[in-house]
């Protein structure tokens, strides 16, 4: 089957500084793919370049078989490429519910906004309790829930999440992973950048390991978890 998101030899960076040196990823439909790597390896930059927040210098990007390399971030979002960004990036002066409404802004997400709002509130009852509150007054964990909820509101075709577990209680992280698995069951494709390599390898289907802006290891998560260099460098075994 053709990959739903395909990144081909992407190079990009900030100003004069090159960060990515020819990254290629193939994300299969209905799979959970993780990207792991040390701090500063370029994981966030990879997602931001895929999204269009950072312009690619070279290389190509395909979404559902169509080339979208030059499209702006909002145009890609309109086609269902969704990024839950690192650092949450909420709208601080908007209320919790207004933040979620913005998730339902695009034409494709708007149609199912009501149902999606129900689903998000079911998933995160705390957000429902605080729905009139400004998002800047939420606790760190609640903000992370809101960032996730806002992403789910977008009717993702591919849902890219940068640091899901950051600031969340372990119980909630587990719960979110289970949610992601059930979403995957509903046909949403998920790309996850995750610091918790144990969890990522255990729950995902496919793993890419990044180092210094390059893919160094890739494969079925089960197999990657067995590799000596991964066990030593990332699992502390």
């Amino acid at each position: 089957m053709a990959p739903v998101l395909q990144i081909e030899k992407i190079e990009s960076g900030y100003g004069e500084v090159q960060v990515l040196w020819g990254i290629s990823l193939e994300v299969e439909a209905g799979k959970l793919t993780t990207i792991v790597g040390a701090n500063g390896a370029g994981k966030t930059t990879t997602l931001r370049t895929a999204m269009g927040s950072v312009r690619p210098w070279h290389g190509r990007i395909f979404l559902e078989g169509e080339e979208v390399t030059r499209l702006s971030a909002h145009a890609k979002a309109g086609r269902g490429l969704v990024l839950v960004p690192e650092g949450r990036q909420l709208f601080p002066t908007l209320s919790v519910e207004e933040n979620l409404e913005m998730g339902g802004y695009s034409t494709r997400a708007r149609k199912r906004q009501r149902a999606n709002l129900e689903r998000v509130y079911e998933l995160f009852p705390r957000l429902k309790e605080r729905r009139k509150q400004r998002s800047s007054t939420l606790s760190g964990g609640e903000q992370q829930m809101l960032a996730m909820g806002r992403g789910l509101m977008q009717e993702p075709v591919v849902l890219m999440i940068d640091e899901l577990s950051l600031g969340l209680a372990p119980v909630l992280t587990q719960q979110l992973f289970l949610t992601l698995k059930s979403l995957r069951g509903q046909g949403i494709t998920i790309v996850l950048v995750e610091q918790n390599v144990h969890l990522a390898l255990a729950l995902s289907d496919y793993t890419y390991v990044l180092a210094e802006g390059r893919v160094t290891i890739q494969g079925e998560s089960r197999q990657v978890a067995q590799m000596d260099e991964v066990r030593r460098a990332y699992l502390g075994l």
């Binding site: 999204m51 269009g52 927040s53 702006s72 971030a73 909002h74 145009a75 979002a77 309109g78 969704v82 990024l83 960004p85 990036q89 909420l90 709208f91 601080p92 002066t93 908007l94 207004e98 409404e101 913005m102 998730g103 802004y105 695009s106 034409t107 997400a109 400004r134 800047s136 806002r150 977008q154």
Partner: protein
């Protein structure tokens, strides 16, 4: 006093336009005064040509203001967003000079007025000028409409989202440049509408916009950025202040007083007198 209050709501409306643009795109819009002057002459021209009711003529003025604002955004603002503040000061100042230049060529700098009088309203021994009351009501309606638009509607929320976090708004599928151009258009439309209303109150020249631009600055710092309703209230306060001092001193002192206030407020309340709620 009461007249001051009525005129003040028009100041408030003008300041809302300046405050919106400043708050949303961090651009200090120096075309503001020129746009106010355009609004005045727009009212003069339309009133002469169509002999419509001035308050109905506000609607086409607002429409033209929106369009003009979007055009100016693409010509002069789009390129300087996110660059140092000096860039946008220079580019809006240039547009300001162009408009004033063309306006001077067409209308010279001699005074004009819109010859239109509503019957006044007498309460006890005091008569309120009809035009003042109508202008205040119109300004109030527009101000409240803008506030509702920003708080309740989908495009209004998108403007606030872009203002809060532009990159995140893009992630939601919001075209942030389109949103900014519309926000700029709305700001200009507010300036033009307030100019049109002022034209029904006082005589004016193509250079009159400058005074109101200065008042808008005072009101905007009084209210604090990004608080449209605050700007309205602060505008009314400024009008009241003017109304209170004019019986005691010459009108030429007013700018001095206003700018003293401006500096005092900037130093004492950098976030505006309603700044407590700011995040």
């Amino acid at each position: 006093m009461i007249d001051g209050l009525l005129v003040g709501s028009v100041y408030g409306l003008a300041a809302m336009g300046l405050s919106l643009i400043w708050g949303v795109m961090n651009v200090i819009n120096l075309t503001h005064g020129a746009m106010i002057a355009l609004g005045m002459f727009g009212m003069y021209v339309l009133f002469g040509a169509i002999t419509g009711h001035p308050y109905v003529l506000l609607l086409p003025e607002i429409g033209v203001g929106l369009l003009l604002g979007v055009v100016v955004y693409w010509v002069a603002i789009h390129w300087v967003i996110g660059r140092p503040m000096l860039m946008s000061l220079l580019s809006t100042f240039a547009v300001n000079m162009i408009i004033i230049g063309i306006g001077t060529a067409v209308w010279t700098t001699s005074p004009y007025n819109v010859n239109f009088n509503l019957p006044g309203l007498t309460v006890g021994s005091y008569t309120f000028t009809g035009n003042h009351i109508a202008a205040a009501v119109a300004a109030l309606i527009l101000a409240l409409a803008l506030d509702l638009f920003l708080r309740r509607t989908r495009p209004g929320k998108a403007i606030r989202a872009v203002s809060d976090h532009r990159e995140a708004a893009e992630l939601m599928g919001i075209s942030s440049t389109t949103v900014l151009s519309i926000a700029f258009g709305i700001g200009i439309a507010m300036a033009i509408a307030s100019g049109a209303l002022v034209a029904t109150l006082f005589p004016f020249t193509i250079l009159s916009g400058g005074t109101y631009q200065l008042k808008s600055f005072v009101v905007t710092v009084l209210a604090g950025l990004g608080k449209p309703l605050g700007a309205l209230v602060a505008g009314v306060l400024l009008g009241l202040l003017e109304g209170a001092v004019t019986p005691f001193m010459a009108a030429s002192w007013i700018p001095l007083i206003e700018f003293t206030l401006f500096v005092v407020v900037l130093v004492a309340f950098p976030r505006g007198i309603f700044g407590k709620v700011a995040a």
